[in-house]
Assembly symmetry: C2
Homo-oligomer: 468 residues x 2
């Protein structure tokens, strides 16, 4: 000991950074190790967590859930109408993104989008009357996720809207998503002006029939190989879908030309698809939902099967806790804002698109998409670090989705809620940022994290189920 | 000294590895530093090199040449016929890849391709008669590079063939390249069967007119932004052009549909383009040639303006040595061979496509394309190492072509022949491998290096010019 204190000291400080300050002042070297106690120090949650760690039932359940996710084979099967394809979709139903929320608590963009959908459906003649109708409670409002569906940002799906139908060919379950409208004034950011409604009608009357006719010619398109290829072309399949959108267009183009649709309709459809680098996002989301739903309902599993946000609450579901949502306030995203906007203008995190991260894509696959940092901020090294960090909170790697910069290692996939609570590492999400007012649109993009409270609550609920 | 030999030794061995062996045997640690004397020990060349290093005239000339390369703005202007667009193209002329070579010394694939071109032009009725004609000397054979053109593999351009015309909008010079035929039995690998000739005719009669009509509608397409985008999507624009081919199709698709061509022709053109991930290669090559030709003829410059191979010789041109070629035997590529083939079946390195490396793309931009290693071998780390190594032999970085994995640093570009000879670091080339017999086609791909002897001879020639 005398020898130790006689030589130059270098101290490792674990946890609170302030404990290291006197060491530095005294002239010793210091390496700070960022650490927090499990469950961020919440003793009740930590006890629940301890009861689940290395629990044979949880381990076995997670193995089954992860295998079901990994075995999923999502195929793009068709384009149909929500009223026919979305289970339990009543005639006067509007689906929205995120966990359940009543009309009065909805954020601006979601309210604006609900009103737009009411006008689009013809249930009210204008936005003013639509507002009265929405407030009256006569329209059923429900989360997309409760109807085998997902939607980006406001995530609105109403009965007449066309949806992508993605089927998991290995287990038979299907997942639906609406069509991407492009950028600018669009329903998913809460815009509901006549041009927005007109575009929705064009998508319904022109784009969807052309796509549906084309998919009949191509037959079902296997999505995993296409998504894997896009990961090798710099996409992470959440905020960067440039390659996947091009690949989908290339897969469809001959069928589009031979679809028998009027040539002006074909030209308009091709122009719309070729002009939208986010076109594939909604297909990616449906594919991720189909892969994750295969892992739902495994008793005892702590695997996360959904993460989503409604602009007010962030919600998480576990495989082993049925249909329960575990929610916490949605964070405001600290990202790159477009000129003239700042965090003060931002709606809290919004949309079902975090289904991509839940499936090991988006922020989890950032290493494959170094150029994404020009959109969400940071450096390519940060992107790789984010992917590597996620290996500590996931059940495994998805060998179907390999990441070239990690020497073709699979993307970290299937979040284990226990590992999130134990490590304090939060799932990373690449996301667009919506203006807090309806209809202004996207004002930035950034990297955010799912809130810990969702995972703490989920772990406690799972512990209650397992420990009786 | 006594103290030094009393403590554990760790030795750095520079140069010959065998000198380190006794050190290891004696139990000491060893770090080997790979090093060779300048000009690989050739004293005459080393003296010539020494006369050019830090020479004010060479430095100033290289600055001018690099600026001309960097200022180039290649635009895809049109598709035309070789006889009209390629300067000095006589009616009975066939252009080939690489430095000058007479008929009798040509490798199998180039001879096969010349014969195919003779049949395609109708100068002989069959391959047998074409061979007699080629051997008679009645057909003028000349390098593409001597006619402002480039061609991949055999690189054959005959008068009736359509060519891409890429103009450097900043200096006014143009460069031409033939059309990519796709994979399989194709002229550029020396195949000359009726199906190959029929495809060439289809390219001439159907594809080229549709493309030309489309380009009239789009107007000239700026290539640098498109190529920069492809580098952010995993292409290196030599052996990986998947993203660039998709981007070009997207840029052309509406014009194709509105070109006024018969709809069956449009459909066939779209199918051909969408089915060929190498379609953009020939555009990339013409763009690189246009950028590099802007740097030609700067008195005193040691910048490399062309590297090319004819399957027998590897040739290099410098900006400051006029039209002279400096040649050495073309290497056989040590790469990944397709099943059933090996190095014993390979033609030596072939084609003008190393113009991409000369312009800072291909092997020089491998860092941007980690997935290329599945095609050419190695690991993504090797790809980054190759790009970084090239920074030691180039005049600068091209800020228009940024590489995300290098934190958006520009690609190393414009090889300085002095630096190659001084460092012993050879330009890295990603390349396809042709079978040595005409018409078998591609049998692999790999990473190879330009031979030192070309650069030694070029340095000596430049020294002779400068030192009088």
């Amino acid at each position: 000991m005398t020898g130790l204190f006689g030589s130059p000291l270098h101290v490792v400080n674990v946890g609170l950074a302030s404990f290291g300050e006197p060491v530095v002042k005294a002239g010793a070297g210091l390496t700070h190790l960022d650490w927090a106690p499990p469950a961020l120090g919440d003793r009740a949650v930590a006890r629940d967590l301890a009861s689940l760690l290395a629990h044979p039932k949880v381990e076995a359940a997670n193995k089954r859930a992860f295998e079901a996710y990994g075995a999923a084979q999502p195929v793009l099967e068709s384009v149909g109408t929500a009223r026919n394809c979305v289970p339990g979709m009543g005639e006067r139903t509007i689906l929205y993104a995120g966990p359940p929320i009543e009309w009065g608590r909805m954020c601006g963009p979601v309210q604006g989008a609900v009103l737009g959908a009411i006008v689009y459906e013809g249930w009210a003649q204008d936005v003013g009357r639509a507002r009265a109708l929405a407030a009256s409670g006569e329209i059923a409002l429900a989360p997309c996720h409760d109807h085998d569906a997902v939607g980006p940002m406001a995530g609105i799906i109403s009965p007449s809207m066309p949806v992508w139908v993605v089927r998991n060919a290995s287990a038979g379950n299907s997942a639906m998503c609406n069509m991407n409208e492009g950028l600018g004034k669009v329903l998913r950011f809460g815009a509901n002006s006549p041009e927005v409604i007109a575009r929705l009608r064009w998508i319904e009357k022109t784009l969807a029939p052309v796509l549906q006719a084309s998919l009949k010619l191509t037959g079902p398109i296997e999505l995993k190989p296409l998504m894997a290829q896009a990961l090798h072309m710099g996409d992470e399949l959440h905020n960067r879908n440039a390659a996947a959108s091009s690949l989908l267009l290339k897969r469809l183009i001959m069928a589009l030309l031979k679809s028998g649709a009027p040539s002006a309709d074909i030209a308009a459809a091709v122009e719309f698809i070729a002009g939208n680098d986010h076109f594939f996002l909604n297909v990616s989301m449906a594919a991720c939902k189909a892969m994750l739903d295969a892992a739902r309902g495994v008793e005892g599993s702590s695997m996360v099967t959904a993460m989503c946000r409604n602009g007010v609450d962030f919600g998480v579901r576990l495989s082993g806790t049925g249909d329960a949502w575990f929610t916490a306030p949605a964070p405001v995203v600290d990202g790159l804002y477009f000129a003239g906007y700042s965090k003060a203008n931002a709606a809290p995190d919004l949309g079902d698109s975090a289904i991509t991260e839940t499936a090991g894509l988006g922020g989890f696959a950032m290493a494959a998409a170094p150029a994404i940092v020009k959109f969400v901020g940071g450096t390519p090294q940060d992107a790789i670090a984010n992917t590597l960090a996620m290996t500590h909170i996931t059940l495994g790697r998805n060998s179907a989705f390999t990441l070239p910069p990690l020497n073709f290692g699979g993307t970290p996939a299937a979040i284990d809620a226990r590992k999130v609570v134990d490590s304090g590492l939060l799932p990373v999400i690449n996301t667009g940022i919506a203006h807090s007012e309806a209809g202004v649109g996207q004002i930035g993009a950034g990297v955010t994290h799912a809130p810990m409270a969702c995972f703490s609550a989920a772990v406690s609920a799972l512990a209650a189920l397992i420990n009786g």
